[in-house]
Amino acid sequence: MTGKRITLQQAAEIIKDGSSLTFSGFTIWRRPFALVFELIRQGRKGLHLIEVNGGPQTEFLVGAGCVDIWESCWVGHELYGKYGANLSRKVGNKEIIVEDYSHAEMLFRFAAAASGAPYAATQTSLGTDLHNPEYDMLGRAGLRDGKRIPKHKYIFTEDPFYGAGEQVLVPAAKVDVAVMCVQQVGEEGTVRVNGQFYSDPEAARAADITIVMAEEIVPEEYLRRESDRNTIASFEVDYIVECPFGAHPTGMFGRYDVDGAFLKDFYGRTRTQEGFDDFAKEWIHGQDHHSYLEKLGWPRMLNLKANTALNYSTGVKRGQ
């Protein structure tokens, strides 16, 4: 045993008011929900989310008033809610600053931070309003200090090496904390992700502190028998938390499917702030992770459980 193992409550305490934060996963898959709920219970304020893409985790934190700045490219619940109603409401009320990039730009920003480079060069999204200098929202708010928030949203430049024309330089995405939600982590922090690993390796490496929530903590020696199957190296991970079903209501490859009914209910009920507060009272406040799972109940969880040969659930009803 090393000293990396902590509880869910301790993990949430590492994320301070005003921290910048990013997550594992993709839209409605492998989001660290047990910790997101704990942050809401602990009443975290002023978070700056920097995400390759957003999803239900963004919507919960934004709805609960934990977030001041959201820097990303997309938010919604896929089939189960077409856009982020909570973010939309707060943007309309000017309660939140949104900085828009494209998906590839966000990814290249994380890859730059993960490799210790100050920026990346790309040619994506040329000619769009993503590059409209009037729409530099962090600049308009006077927040570009050149420390954690880059001095510029973009820099345009001509390729100095091959003469390939107009390039866009995008700043590295430097974040304080990354929270990952994965299938397995070893006692020393080695991570094994099954299925698509999305942008998890870049996100984990870009952050100063990386916390890994796993379905199970397994012996390090077991993971090191087949290191080619591992995704993130032990020393890139600072803290580990064991948390079965920690991604619910999002899905986890090989373990359980997305709980579409839960997300649909959330989307439908949280178009207003009163609706959100009511939802949070029912599902988040006054609970801990175990009582939340008890409230969901075994029949619901068993229905979501993935078939081990197919890696997805054959029980969930997906259609109309």
């Binding site: 893409n53 309309g92 998906h103 769009t128 309003d129 299925g195 698509q196």
Partner: protein
């Protein structure tokens, strides 16, 4: 055989859109597709006329052969039979490197040069409604040789000027001043093509090679060219209409409803009366 086309009672509008989109795919192409109807369309192409197409989902599966429809590109079902299961860095690098022939995308608004908005309705600095945001829409549209948009047709969506250019069309803004230039000029050596078709709930639209302006190609059953022109805020070119959008074949309907989407996740079945 002509008799193999379904009769109007046998299919619905979503079936027609799916088949029209599927026919945009050529065999052996590398195709990048988003969640929803685009997914059904390319998987239909894979089952019918384009068995060798290579399918990329932006969450990280390359050349997958899922037997059933995933509900998102991050879905566990995307990985079935894939050549490589990886992450976004691979998927977007493949696109920026120039491998992608065709991208399938959606949008909330489109203008006559194929600029598409998925970010907000109204003034960006004081929006009426914030939408999903860009996602990979501009990235795929920047790098694919052709992009096809599938959209709901409403007059307010086929607009003279989109609220926000999320995804680049044929005439785009050159920043920092924001003057309009041809896409070719701005993209330089990264230029590979651009929007090639819009399949709306009213018809199929294409773009003039020279000017990059949109024109009506085919009308879906029940819409006249004049009616469709009335459904656009800009002056739609209807001088090149080639006819009515071809209906689905019975074989295509079989694949959609019995093989690809039997759960009716994206494409509802037509309900027969009697």
């Amino acid at each position: 055989m002509e008799s193999n086309y379904a009769t109007p009672e046998e299919y619905g509008l979503p079936d027609l859109l799916c088949c029209a989109a599927s026919r945009e795919v050529k065999d052996n192409e590398i195709v990048f597709a988003g969640t929803g109807l685009p997914m059904v369309a390319i998987m239909l192409a894979q089952k019918t006329h384009a068995p060798n197409l290579k399918l990329i989902f932006e969450a990280g599966t390359l050349d997958g052969r899922p037997p059933q429809i995933p509900t998102s590109v991050g879905d566990a079902r995307c990985e079935m039979g894939a050549s490589r299961s990886s992450g976004l860095y691979d998927a977007f690098s493949v696109a920026q490197r120039g491998y992608v022939d065709l991208g399938f995308l959606g949008g909330a608004e489109v203008d006559e040069y194929g600029n598409v908005n998925t970010t907000c309705i109204g003034n960006y600095l004081d929006p009426e409604l914030r939408l999903t945001g860009s996602g990979g829409n501009p990235d795929i549209n920047s790098f694919a040789r052709r992009t096809v948009f599938i959209m709901v047709h409403e007059k307010r969506r086929f607009t003279e000027q989109v609220s926000y250019i999320t995804s680049p069309g044929w005439r785009v803004k050159k920043w920092p001043e924001g003057s309009f230039v041809h896409r070719k000029e701005l993209y330089g050596s990264a230029y590979r093509g651009g929007p090639s078709a819009v399949i709306s709930t009213a018809g199929v639209f294409r773009f003039d090679d020279e000017t990059g302006r949109i024109y009506l190609d085919t009308c879906h059953r029940g819409n006249s060219p004049e009616q469709i022109r009335e459904m656009c805020q800009f002056d739609l070119d209807i001088s090149r209409v080639s006819g009515e959008t071809l209906p689905p074949t019975r074989e295509e309907l079989h694949f959609i409803h019995s093989v690809l989407d039997p759960e009716q996740i994206f494409i509802p079945k037509v309900k027969h009366k009697g």
